[in-house]
Symmetry: C2
Subunit: 219 residues, 2 copies
């Protein structure tokens, strides 16, 4: 999980989030916010749920933040009207994406003190219901991995079967028997085999694969 820490006193971690513009698709807004907050773009984002309970507000989080940052906030004109607006019920549309952690350099913005990768096992203390949102995203992803594996930018342009297996094991949190995993993935019928990859390692070189350029012109 790529999670920014807010640029305020106190330990506040929050999923990258923002507002939908008046003339902006919700999907576009999700892409924009991800890009602005993390530098990540041109990626497949999946909407998974709306969070909109009547009592879903920033109030508890904001009160704690304001208490810890009274000095700085006094300078700016954070008036009562603005406070009232920000503590209204917020409705959030959740999206998730998957990226190759090595191919992305997260960019922090002025809003953020830092932006770091966290494993699911060691998430920091998230504001509001953001931890619940993460849990629900994971559940959704796990039940759709086979359909989604090539929509996400999980893998480089070409890759070995071992890399595919590592993605599956990371997402599903379990191990696979190598030989059967290979058969299963090839049976999905979405990969094509390329030449071999010589890494310099002292063992048989694995084949490279890529996703078939799908039947885009078949219909």
């Amino acid at each position: 999980m790529l999670i920014p820490k807010l640029n305020f006193k106190g330990d506040f971690w929050a999923l990258p989030s923002g507002f939908v513009g008046q003339n902006e698709d919700i999907d576009q807004a999700a892409e924009r916010i991800l890009r602005e907050r993390t530098g990540i773009q041109d990626i497949y984002l999946e909407q998974f749920r709306v969070f909109g309970k009547a009592d879903r507000s920033n109030k508890a989080f904001l009160d704690e933040l304001i208490g810890l940052n009274a000095a700085q906030l006094a300078v700016k004109n954070t008036d009562q009207q603005e406070y009232d607006w920000f503590t209204k019920r917020f409705i959030s549309v959740g999206y998730y994406a998957l990226v190759d952690i090595n191919r992305v350099v997260p960019q922090k913005t002025d809003l953020d003190e830092s932006i770091e990768w966290y494993s699911l096992q060691t998430l920091p203390r998230m504001i509001m219901d953001h931890a619940d949102i993460i849990a629900e995203a994971l559940t959704t992803l796990q039940s759709h991995l086979d359909e989604k594996i090539n929509a996400f930018n999980l893998l480089p342009e070409t890759f070995t079967m071992k890399e595919v297996q590592e993605v599956y094991e990371a997402v599903l949190g379990k191990t696979f028997v190598r030989t059967n995993f290979q058969k299963m993935i090839l049976n999905l019928g979405v990969l094509e085999r390329l030449e071999k990859k010589f890494t310099g390692a002292a063992n048989k070189a694995p084949y490279l694969y890529q996703f078939k350029k799908q039947l885009l012109f078949a219909f």
Copy 2:
């Protein structure tokens, strides 16, 4: 599909829909709107997607409706401000439910000229993107039926295996071999067998089943 026809000149069918109150959960709003427009309540509703493209507006639909109903609408004070508001981008959260068609008596409201059941094959001309919304709901339901069969009020309190099979065949649009279907469903481990049901038909009486009262107190 239970679809109301709008109480205006012209043929406008629209999914039951409405607004979320300021102090209302989105889930609550969905329940309320369903109840108000159809009389159906105490039912499991499943949220499946948000529809919110920037150009998703009622304008085309409203213009056609106003054109056909100029006389009636002139009486009411439908001013420019109201028109502008109603033709803004609308964001809709889609929900679906499943009900036993025989156990529900749809209630039309003043908004509606009629409310009727339609098969998926013979849907009327829906306004806006409502036909797309229906298609997406069906796809979602088909891929989750096993998990959802007992959440929905698809079946009476007690029911026969044949009734379960009919639900599956209707939703998934395919047939099952009776003997294997029975084995599959019983293997899900969620049904318990009751006494037999004597219908008066000239054949062996089938067992009744009900969903196990789940392990609500087990944790």
